[in-house]
């Protein structure tokens, strides 16, 4: 094994290269120079998902190479719950995510004709967010998203400059978050926060990623029951109950991710959204979701991008894109 200080020196030199300072001290370190030349070349490495998706796009039905990501799909960090936003003007929205939240574009696939974005994947903080342009005659489906980032006051100002509207300025909350709320011009609500109460997990609350879909429903208890029956969701903590006896806030775990929900009220109304949910067996989960009261939008189908996929609408009109990587 290499000495720890060599590994640290290599990492510091890589930081310099990634920051565009590769001509600096880094390349003068003879022990590391050969590795750093490779590191510099790797900045252009293509996204493996892009290679696979393009192949699937070119040759619908080719499956064999899709397996190469399957081995890692359900590893820690895979993220089994991903918000899937369907919008008018996805390209501008991607720019908004970059400007407001420092998001990184992982992949973008254009539809036939090159105008609309068929599918894009963004990294916001440490989380994947999927999105696409609404196809013709399909209504947009924005969502409500809870986003943990560092220094929420600065993020809030950046989001306003990027065109978001304030619903609530940064405020210290009793549950240990400094939190603000915004709406963007595509109809998404953003609850942005930095968790301050536990410095060891800052900026996240324990168990959270950067980005968590937040479902508001009139009858949040019924939505919670549906998620338990359909997807085996488990409450992470005792739900908070309001004075009216409704569920004010609940956190549910499905797979390696959490989702939040609460009773719709005031300006926090339901925004039925799309969620990409990765499971081990799409067909079985689809059947369970129908038995739990979901409606079939699309039965299980082998999708050209290497997934066994099905879509179910829950009783509150959220659409669940259930998928199993093939």
């Amino acid at each position: 094994m290499a000495e720890p200080n060599v590994i640290e020196r290599l990492d510091a030199a890589i930081d310099a290269i990634l920051a565009g300072r590769q001509e600096g001290l880094a390349l003068r370190d003879p022990e590391l120079a050969a590795l750093l030349v490779i590191a510099a070349d790797l900045r252009d490495v293509p996204d493996p998902q892009f290679k696979q998706r393009l192949k699937a796009d070119l040759l619908p039905g080719t499956k064999e190479e899709m397996m190469s990501t399957t081995e890692s799909r359900l590893e820690p960090g895979f993220q089994t719950i991903r918000a899937y936003l369907v919008l008018d003007g996805a390209s501008d929205f991607i720019q908004f995510l970059k400007d407001a939240f420092g998001a990184i574009e992982n992949a973008r696939f254009k539809g036939p004709g090159g105008g609309k974005i068929m599918h894009a994947e963004m990294m916001v903080g440490n989380s994947k967010l999927e999105l696409g342009d609404a196809p013709a005659r399909v209504s947009p489906r924005p969502g409500a998203l809870h986003l943990y980032l560092d220094d929420i006051d600065a993020v809030y100002q950046r989001a306003l400059r990027a065109g978001a509207t304030s619903l609530m300025g940064p405020t210290d909350q009793f549950y240990g978050d400094r939190e603000a709320a915004l709406r963007d011009r595509w109809g998404n609500s953003w609850y942005i926060a930095t968790h301050l109460a536990d410095p060891s997990t800052k900026p996240f609350r324990k168990g959270f990623r950067s980005l968590t879909p937040y479902l508001h429903a009139r009858g949040a208890d019924r939505l919670m029951r549906f998620l338990k029956e359909a997807f085996g969701a488990q409450a992470v903590e005792e739900p908070t109950v309001s004075a009216q006896g409704t569920i004010a806030h609940a956190v549910l775990q499905i797979g390696d991710s959490v989702i939040e929900l609460g009773e719709a009220h005031g300006q926090w109304q339901a925004i039925p959204m799309g969620i990409h949910l990765f499971v081990d067996d799409t067909d079985a989960v689809y059947e369970r979701a129908l038995r739990a009261g979901g409606k079939s939008v699309r039965p299980p189908t082998d999708m050209p991008y290497g997934e066994r996929g099905a879509t179910v609408a829950d009783p509150f009109d959220n659409q669940w894109f259930i998928g199993t990587p093939r």
Binding site: I7, I38, P46, G61
Partner: protein, 177 residues
């Protein structure tokens, strides 16, 4: 390309002309080359991805018209790529008035091959090393971000980064060796 490789390539092209699903083999072999060729001219990963997609769509659509004349299949792909790149600069001419040259020198060909080989080797890395390479270098993420995403310690991610680069250096040496 030696005679044996040449005849293998010819067989693969003819197979794909008869059965488009066999295009997958040509795609696997040439994806990185085309991507690198395009990237050297447009210097933006996302534009390079879009144009690479266009090149392979064009190649598949026109494969039946390809006639074997002894030139490598890659040269035909580079011609398509050069046209797509020229179209791209034409469309975005307000940003950049002149398209870069479309001919490929031997020196450039070697540079493209070298970089394409490196990217193919990344594809063969163990999954955890590959993910670190893609996130750290391709996406420019910090060790802390990669560690959070992979739910590993920062030290473990630095180890994976070290091992990945060592593996790539060793394999590049062997391929050239």
């Amino acid at each position: 390309m030696n005679r044996r490789n040449e005849s293998d390539e010819r067989l693969r092209i003819e197979a794909a002309q008869k059965d488009p699903s066999r295009f997958a083999e040509l795609y696997e072999e040439h994806f990185e080359r085309v991507y690198v060729f395009v990237l050297r001219r447009v210097s933006d990963r996302h534009v390079a991805q879009d144009l690479t997609a266009d090149v392979f769509h064009q190649a598949l659509a026109n494969l039946k018209r390809f006639e074997w004349r002894g030139a490598p299949f890659a040269a035909w792909l580079y011609r398509i790529a050069a046209n797509e790149i020229a179209d791209h600069f034409h469309r975005t001419s307000r940003e950049r008035p002149a398209a870069p040259p479309s001919d490929v020198s031997n020196g450039e060909m070697a540079a493209v091959e070298q970089r394409a080989l490196l990217f193919r080797l990344v594809d063969r890395l163990p999954a955890d090393q590959r993910r670190v390479v893609v996130m750290r270098f391709g996406e420019g993420r910090s060790i802390r971000e990669v560690a959070q995403q992979l739910e590993r310690s920062e030290g473990a991610v630095k180890q994976l980064q070290w091992r990945a680069l060592q593996t790539l250096r060793a394999e590049l040496g062997q391929e050239h060796g």
